[in-house]
């Protein structure tokens, strides 16, 4: 199965990105090359030895068969008796059996290596992908990653399968054939071999010249696949604005270009591919001509004549296989370059002497933290001290760095300058697994896996009991929606499951965080699609459950953050105001401004409150309780 490569960007630029971002700690950048591959092969060296041995035996046995046929024909010509021929036939079958057994072994051993190495590599790549940090995933298109971990590793097994399977046997086959034929007639043998070698060399050369054309075809296939992915992901927009014709036209243009490139490549590749066969067939004409003449002269028996004819097929077959092996070798080198991106070390990892964090309290400290990306300062010199148990609200305009600030705590990325401390330890010195166990982070865009709802919630804590689960469902108010779902908690959600509304998805993510029972809870605008009332209920209940837990709540509604112990107002990568709701209102700054705006025209409110005695009561009640 061929997965089209989506990687239009060059590998070099990918590498450059990794190197630049990791420039602070000068790590040797690992490269996936033939030596890297060799280390995997060496884990299965006995299979390699087996493949070599059976390959040699198979190559020799296969080469012997046409020779025996030639001998039989000579015997027939000389007029041997029937019963004498039994020996010849038995010899022929015997050799064939040896060849088959060797062939069997060859495929067995080479297959073992190929599949085992492929398996090992895929496992290791996936392992590293599990470690690679968020900045990596933001840079890479998922389709491209998939194509690398699947199609490019397939290239490796293709090379190993044929390399260990055919290359040995083909080489020995050629060697034996050359020796056998040279005894019969050296000049004709030399002629045959030279012609075929030249054609094979030409084929390899031409193949190398065709590779860029093939890559252009692949690039175009990648472009088409990306367009399809884009169109399908944005289908609602396309439908809303009736852009089907436009997207169809864009696709048609890429489609036609693909056809052009494909035909351009094939029209050059096809003759090159046909050439060796043609040369070997034409060489047969040479054999007919010269062999015929020699036979007439009597220096060449009919058996020899037959041997040459049969061997020509064998030789071109073996040369073809060697050529193919070489081609695969070239392709694999290309594939390995593409794999290099996947074996990069992560920028976010535990240090070897990482400090464990078995019982986190949730003290948080930011010391002169700055984040810079691509030359732009996104967060500048933020210092904060948040004692355990504080509920912090963060508010500010779109793109001001709120998400960035909270993502530093769980080390979604590391700051360019300054330190983030949890319980007095720089997060970079802490054991990453422990750190993340201490945190429940609910990102802005919710991701649900294709799994039952209960499983999606249990993701927060694997060993969560059913009671914990239902409590989390209750607090997140997911329990209200269960009746609407076809199978309640067992309903399959995610891409393959039922459709949940934006608010429902967010609440599943919240339930996931609650069940985790973290020391630090981070909600990044995680209630934006939840109505105010439900949001308030959720926050209220959460507070009771998460008592003494540090919480950071990013929101756009003042109503969501106003009860927080500390409210941070951010703008342009800085904290411009901080304090409690009351203090900030009193300060008459940005926050007070925002609060007033959210309440809208307060004169209307005043008018309403006058007209609405119940409201007055409510206000009274709130006032007295506060």
């Amino acid at each position: 199965m061929q997965i089209v490569s989506l990687g239009v960007r060059s590998v070099v630029s990918d590498l450059a990105g990794v190197v630049v971002s990791g420039a602070s700690n000068e790590v040797q950048v690992p490269v996936a090359d033939m030596r890297w591959l060799w280390a995997y092969i060496m884990r299965h060296r006995w299979d390699a030895v087996g493949a070599f041995f059976t390959g040699v035996v198979g190559g020799i046995a296969t080469a012997a068969e046409p020779f025996v046929i030639g001998v039989i024909i000579d015997h027939v010509q000389q007029g041997v008796r029937f019963d004498q021929m039994w020996g010849d036939i038995a010899l022929m079958i015997g050799i064939a059996i040896i060849a088959i057994v060797a062939f069997f072994g060859m495929r067995h051993f080479s297959g073992n290596i190929a599949y085992a190495v492929n398996y090992d590599i895929r496992r290791d790549l996936y392992e590293n992908l599990l470690r690679l940090d968020n900045s990596f995933y933001q840079r890479q298109a998922i389709g491209d990653l998939i194509s690398r971990i699947h199609s490019d590793t397939e290239m490796i097994w293709r090379l190993l399968a044929i390399g260990f399977n055919r290359a040995f046997s083909a080489s020995f086959n050629l060697l034996v054939i050359f020796v056998l034929l040279a005894f019969v007639n050296l000049p004709l043998t030399a002629l045959v071999f030279v012609v075929l070698l030249v054609s094979t060399t030409f084929q390899i050369r031409a193949g190398a010249a065709l590779t860029p054309m093939f890559e252009q075809v692949q690039d175009q296939a990648g472009k088409m696949a990306s367009l399809v992915q884009d169109a399908i992901s944005g289908i609602q927009t396309i439908k809303t604005f009736g852009r089907e014709d436009s997207i169809n036209a864009r696709f048609a243009a890429e489609n036609i270009e693909y056809r052009r490139r494909w035909l351009f490549f094939k029209r050059r590749n096809e003759p090159v591919g046909m050439l060796p066969n043609m040369i070997s067939q034409s060489t047969m004409g040479v054999v007919v001509l010269f062999g015929g003449i020699l036979a007439v002269q009597g220096t060449f028996t009919l058996g020899n004549f037959t041997q040459f004819l049969l061997y020509l097929g064998w030789i071109s077959q073996s040369l073809l296989q060697l050529g193919m092996t070489y081609q695969r070798y070239q392709q694999t080198r290309g594939a390995l370059t593409r794999l290099t991106v996947l074996i990069q070390p992560t920028q976010v990892a535990s240090l070897p002497d990482a400090v464990p964090l078995p019982a986190p309290h949730g003290d948080l400290r930011f010391e002169h933290v700055s984040v810079e990306m691509e030359g732009t300062t996104l967060l500048s010199n933020v210092s904060l001290d948040i004692p355990a148990g504080t509920v912090v609200g963060i508010i500010g305009p779109t793109g001001c760095g709120k998400t960035l600030l909270v993502s530093l705590i769980a080390r979604v990325l590391d700051p360019s300058e300054g330190r983030v401390l949890v319980d007095g330890h720089d997060v970079r010195t802490l054991d990453l697994e422990d750190l993340r166990r201490a945190i429940a982070y609910v990102p802005q865009s919710t991701f649900l896996f294709s799994a039952p709802l209960s499983e999606n919630i249990r993701m927060g804590k694997r060993e969560a009991t059913d009671e914990e689960l239902s409590r989390a469902a209750h607090i997140s108010r997911m329990s209200n929606d269960l009746a609407q779902l076809p199978h309640g908690m067992d309903t399959l959600v995610g891409e393959k499951g039922v459709m949940l509304s934006g608010g429902q998805k967010q609440r599943v993510a919240i339930a996931r965080a609650i069940v985790r029972d973290p020391a630090i809870l981070v909600l990044d605008d995680a209630l934006s699609s939840v109505d105010t009332r439900t949001a308030a209920d959720i926050l209220h209940d959460m507070r009771a459950v998460l008592q003494a837990r540090t919480s950071l709540i990013i929101a756009h509604r003042i109503s969501t953050v106003k009860d927080c112990d500390l409210i941070l107002v951010m703008d342009d990568g800085q904290i411009v105001e901080s304090g409690t709701h009351a203090a900030l209102i009193a300060q008459q700054g940005v926050y007070a401004h925002m609060a007033a705006r959210e309440r809208g025209d307060s004169r209307v409110d005043a008018a309403v409150s006058e007209a609405e005695p119940v409201m007055e009561e409510e206000v009274e009640r709130v006032r007295s309780s506060s």
């Binding site: 046929i69 024909i73 029937f82 021929m85 079958i93 064939a96 060849a99 062939f103 297959g111 599949y115 496992r123 995933y137 933001q138 998922i142 990653l145 296939a221 990306s226 399809v228 884009d230 399908i232 609602q236 009736g242 852009r243 696709f251 048609a252 035909l263 094939k266 029209r267 096809e270 067939q281 007919v288 001509l289 015929g292 007439v296 004549f305 004819l309 305009p397 779109t398 979604v412 166990r437 429940a440 990102p443 896996f449 694997r462 393959k496 509304s501 934006g502 934006s528 699609s529 105010t532 009332r533 509604r557 209102i585 925002m594 609060a595 309440r599 025209d601 409510e618 709130v622 506060s626």
Partner: protein
């Protein structure tokens, strides 16, 4: 081929959910492929003539050898050898010229057919309704469009020719052998039935394992697609061991099925190889006797060795093609299935053509659900007069987004009807409907392309000034102008380099630029935007929405206070409606919601109101 896709008779229309169950027969599959090839009958005819010629010529070659052995070599006439050598050479060259010719022709035909198929399939996918996209993973559709079509490319440009030429060569050789010496021919055919039986036997097994192989690959790809998509969650929640284990299982299964395929193929290839040798042994033994007894010549014996080899070659080659053809056929099957899905939400055959565009919205006893038996909207009645601005509030899961989706006809109602300007949305043409309604969703999508292209939706006829104007009204220009390349900044796939709020601003600008007079439905379209920006948007919108029918779904009540009417939804029903004051006076759900959000200590109210 029309853009609506081929309608093959004899198969009923399928819905997305029925998709998996329907069996697709090989015959149906070939008919589908035939449909795409039918415009190229002439070229295909020429290809087959070429194939026939090549087969005949290939059969001639061993005969030439027989003639040279029995003629000049036996008689010892050197001069007679030369014409045979030259003839052999000429035939070989002719074969290759012909072969190149028909391959060239067939590949052109194949690519043209595939171009049509890709275009048809893509247009077909684009034509599907939202329900289809909700249940079909994106990766699956991309795989249809890329991998599966790729597999068909092999079939159409290589495999078909190989199979046809192998078959013809096989028949040609059998005929030639019978003509030259029927006794020797029959001897060499002895192993043929066994070989054919073995091929059929292994074909079945190989087909099964190859199907399993492709399933495993598809599962693996969809697994890693999801895991990579949710990697942040995997890492933040320490899910790596589970993710690893999941992948490991797939990886193991992949290796296992790979190994199984190899073992089966090895067994098959070994059987073929030993049968070939046995066949040759028969020819040599029988032919040897024939030569001694006088019913065969040495030349025949040598040419029969060559014929026998060439007779088995097509069978071996056919067997090698089996895997390829199986892959292509199962890919074709998946494509055929896809082409069979028919959207439920389709334009009426004879859409009504409203003469005057009156933008009213009416819901008449509407019931709707995504899953059968689980309605999310119950028996809902609603009339929005033209020019009225309506807000919808309510708890999550109350059915607000569904309501918006029904106005834009992303889905069709289960019962009742939704009418725009007095016409049932099901009777309107897609074009009229889209000019009448614009829905801005909660999670807008950004396409790979520049910001300007994302606002203009790749419509080059829209001048840059209008794009900027729309962006300004949507307050998107603020952040765009801080980007290094302004409106020409490239967005990553899915707009990954923008925040959710920024994507919402782009979507808003998009909506303001296109169909400026339609009913505007904003489905929490500003939920991730800060209040200040949102208010600025409101100011801009206020001007634009003047006299424009609009439905605004929002949780921030400040957003909606100035609308003409507020609908409060609960569990799929409208429980309260009226303007802000009326609803407060009603002291129901809305009043509760409102108080939660806005009640502040009164002393704060006074000073802040002065600053506004």
């Amino acid at each position: 081929m029309s853009a609506s896709g081929p309608q093959v008779n004899g198969m009923k229309r399928l819905t997305a959910t029925e998709l998996q169950q329907e069996a697709i027969t090989d015959r149906y599959l070939l008919r589908m492929l035939g449909q795409f090839l039918s415009p190229y009958k002439l070229q295909i005819g020429i290809v087959f003539v070429g194939l026939l010629a090549v087969s005949v010529l290939s059969v001639v070659l061993p005969y030439l050898i027989q003639l040279v052995v029995d003629g000049p070599i036996t008689s010892g006439d050197i001069n007679q050898v030369v014409p045979f050598g030259i003839a052999y050479f000429v035939v070989v060259i002719t074969i290759f010229v012909l072969r190149f010719g028909y391959i060239y022709l067939l590949q052109t035909v194949g690519q043209n057919a595939l171009l049509d198929l890709r275009r048809t399939l893509f247009a077909h996918i684009m034509r599907q309704d939202m329900r289809f996209f909700n249940v079909t993973p994106v990766g699956q559709l991309v795989a249809r469009m890329s991998n599966d079509i790729e597999a068909l490319t092999e079939l159409m440009s290589t495999s078909i020719v190989m199979v046809a030429s192998n078959m013809m060569t096989l028949i040609g050789i059998i005929v030639a052998m019978l003509l030259i010496n029927w006794r020797l021919a029959l001897i060499s055919f002895i192993v043929l039935p066994v070989m054919i039986y073995m091929t059929i036997y292994f074909r079945k097994r190989l087909r099964e394992s190859s199907g399993r192989y492709h399933r495993v690959v598809a599962e693996t790809l969809s697994y890693i697609n999801e895991q990579f998509g949710g990697m942040l969650i995997v890492q933040l929640f320490n899910r790596q061991p589970i993710s690893r284990e999941g992948f490991n299982q797939k990886n193991l299964e992949y290796r296992e099925v790979h190994t199984l395929l190899r073992d089966q193929y090895t067994r098959y290839a070994s059987v073929l190889q030993i049968l070939t040798t046995i066949g040759l042994a028969f020819v040599l033994y029988g032919g040897g006797q024939g030569v001694l007894m006088g019913w065969a010549t040495l030349g025949m014996l040598i040419s029969f060795v060559e014929y026998t080899r060439r007779m088995f070659e097509p069978i071996v080659s056919l067997s090698e093609q089996i895997a390829q053809i199986q892959t292509a056929l199962s890919a074709g099957e998946r494509i055929a299935r896809m082409l069979h899905v028919e959207p439920e939400v389709v334009q009426a055959n004879h859409p009504v053509k409203p003469t005057v565009q009156t933008l009213t919205v009416e819901f008449d006893e509407v019931t709707f659900g995504y899953e059968n038996g689980h309605p999310v909207i119950h028996d809902l009645d609603l009339v929005i007069p033209m020019g009225q601005r309506v807000a919808v509030v309510g708890a999550t899961g109350a059915g607000k987004t569904s309501l918006a989706g029904l106005v834009g006809r992303f889905y069709d109602v289960t019962e009742g009807s939704v009418r725009i300007g007095g016409f049932d949305v099901r009777d309107l043409s897609n074009d009229d409907l889209r000019h009448s309604v614009t829905v801005v969703p909660q999670n807008p999508y950004c396409f790979t392309g520049t910001i300007a292209e994302n606002i203009s939706l790749f419509d080059d006829s829209i001048p840059r000034a209008k794009v900027i104007e729309a962006a300004k009204t949507a307050c998107a220009n603020g952040f765009i102008e801080r980007l290094p390349q302004l409106y020409d900044t490239m967005l990553m796939p899915g707009g990954a380099n923008l925040s959710q709020g920024q994507r919402q601003l782009i979507a808003l600008a998009r909506a303001l630029l296109h169909h400026p007079h339609s009913i505007l439905v904003l489905d929490e379209a500003t939920s991730n935007i800060d209040t200040e920006t949102e208010e600025a948007i409101q100011t801009g919108l206020h001007r634009i929405l003047q006299g424009r029918t609009s439905i605004v779904i929002a949780h921030r009540l400040s957003t909606i206070r100035e609308v003409d009417r507020i609908l409060v939804m609960r569990l799929g029903e409208i429980v309260e409606q009226g303007n802000h004051e009326e609803l407060l006076a009603l002291n129901g759900l809305y009043a509760q919601l409102y108080r939660r959000q806005f009640v502040e200590e009164p002393e704060e109210d006074m000073p802040t109101s002065e600053t506004v």
